[in-house]
Symmetry: C2
Subunit: 139 residues, 2 copies
Amino acid sequence: MATRAELREELIKAGIRPSVQRLAIFEYVRQSCQHPTAEVVYEALCDELGSLSLTTVYNTLKLFVDAGLISMLTIDDTFRCFDGNRCCHAHFRCNNCGKIVDLQMKEDFISLVEGLDGYKITDAQLYLKGLCPACKNKK
Amino acid sequence: MATRAELREELIKAGIRPSVQRLAIFEYVRQSCQHPTAEVVYEALCDELGSLSLTTVYNTLKLFVDAGLISMLTIDDTFRCFDGNRCCHAHFRCNNCGKIVDLQMKEDFISLVEGLDGYKITDAQLYLKGLCPACKNKK
DNA sequence: TTATATATTTGCAATGATTACAAAAATGAA
DNA sequence: TTCATTTTTGTAATCATTGCAAATATATAA
């Protein structure tokens, strides 16, 4: 769990000026295990920051994604969500309850992909979908 | 390359009545290596079928995805595209030119995921993003 | 400090892919 | 044929996301 000062340093190192809004958004996404959407980030930080614009949240999240500081997940095709967990992991989305969970990997999945000579890879996501144990038992 | 009769049988086996529209859409997505969007499928088949509704294309593609006959890709976060290739493979999307290409796998990537006991997996997608060789050289 | 340029935030309007809906057409059963 | 069911269609609505221009904050220079 990084401190606020460490997160600030990380932004600066990435060439991003740590404004109040940016630092709050960065901290929120990095600490969350919930894969929040832009809307969720906005709702969560509105009070804390006094005021905040949804546009700022969208712009800032995009800034972080482009800088490689967080990832954007498109596992749900109706909205994007964001992930501050920097360890290599896969995601599972339950088709019934919609929950998105992290799954550990035995090894980095990029090593299994063939024919990547000449490519520059900046992002990799492994998405699994189906039924989570709870929903599977209900049916 | 499956014949039209084989594709028809596959629909019936999946419990889907092979209407003219459905068979044409199924054939198009299965034969294409281009990961078409609903709009692309619609444009391609409008003439062939005389008339066609974009709503039908959307509904039909969803029907096929739910039946496990084709996959939906969300590698590009601004639109969905569809993939009729049933072999296990990964996808790469170039951040510069937008091209989506298939990549072979040394082995099925699901085997690398831990903690799947109790889950029912119905879909798995591995997405890589970055620069393709051509775009990488240009920069 | 003050003035000026630059970067950031904000609110609202616009965008566009996708879906809801209800009518029309096609198909199957009796 | 008649009736019920399934499928298709066109249009309107939805809603997550973006464009844009004004307002605000921050950094730099003098």
